[in-house]
Symmetry: C2
Subunit: 139 residues, 2 copies
C-alpha cells in the first residue's frame, strides 16, 4: 500500500503545504529519477523556482528523496524506499541505471551494489554505482 504525499510529509514532521504535496506527488507518480529542471518544468507556473529548490533541499534532509550522481553536472533526485534510513543514517544500496536511448534514470531497487575490495588504508562509507546502457523498454 503506497503512502500518500500528506502521509509522508506528516511522518517526516513537515508542515503540509500545497507546494510540498504537489512536488511529492510528482515524485510518487514518476517512475524515473528527475533533475531539478524536470520538476521545475512540471510546476513552475504553480510555484516559484526558489520554492522548488528549498523543497528539494528539505526532502533531502528528511531522507524522503536521494540524489543520484551523474557525469553531466545535473543531479537527479528519486524517492527513497522506506528502508533506506538505517539507524538514523541514510543508506541507499541499489544500483542506478541511465538509459542512453531514452535518457531516463531509474533506481534498480532489486539490484544491490556488489561489495568491492579497496586498497589498504581506505575506509568506505558510501558506495554509488551508476550503470549506463539500454533499458528494457528501449532495447
Amino acid at each position: 500500500m503506497k503512502k500518500t504525499s500528506s502521509e509522508i510529509l506528516k511522518s517526516s514532521a513537515l508542515s503540509i503545504t500545497e507546494g510540498r504535496k504537489n512536488i511529492l506527488d510528482i515524485f510518487l507518480s514518476s517512475a524515473n529519477a528527475m533533475a531539478h529542471q524536470d520538476i521545475e518544468s512540471k510546476c513552475k507556473d504553480k510555484f516559484d523556482r526558489v520554492t522548488i529548490y528549498r523543497t528539494l533541499q528539505t526532502f533531502l534532509e528528511k531522507g524522503i528523496i536521494h540524489t543520484i550522481p551523474s557525469s553531466d553536472n545535473t543531479t537527479r533526485y528519486a524517492l527513497c524506499n522506506d528502508d533506506c534510513i538505517v539507524s538514523g543514517h541514510h543508506h541507499d544500496n541499489h544500483v542506478h541505471f541511465t538509459c542512453d536511448a531514452c535518457g531516463k534514470t531509474i533506481c534498480l531497487d532489486e539490484t544491490s551494489i556488489p561489495s568491492v575490495h579497496l586498497p589498504k588504508g581506505f575506509r568506505a562509507h558510501q558506495i554509488n554505482m551508476i550503470v549506463s546502457g539500454v533499458c528494457k523498454t528501449c532495447i
Copy 2:
C-alpha cells in the same frame, strides 16, 4: 615513462597551444581529479574562462580525460590511462574514491569495478562506481 603534454596532444591530433599544454600539465602534475573550478583557479590569470571550458570539452572528446560523476553537481575530471580507449571506444573500468575528510577525489586504478547482474532486458554499456569515505592519508 610518462608522456609529456606535447606528446599527448600530438598523438591525439590536436594543435599544440600554450593553453592546452598548460592545462594538460596541470592534470599531469596532479594526483587528484579536478573540478572545472580547480583548474580555473590555477590558470585563470593566464587563460580565459571560455578557453578552459573549450579545452576540457576537447580533451573529453579525444579521450584524454574522463569525467567522474558526483552527487554535488560538480563534475570532476581526471586523466585517462593509455589503455582506456578500447576499439575506438572509451572505457574506464576503475573505482573512484572521494574522501569526506580532505575532499579529494582520486582514481583507484588498481581497483576494478566488480561485475553486477542487471535485471532481464537491461544492457550495460558503461559502469561507474564511486566510493566515498576516508582515504589512506586522512585515516
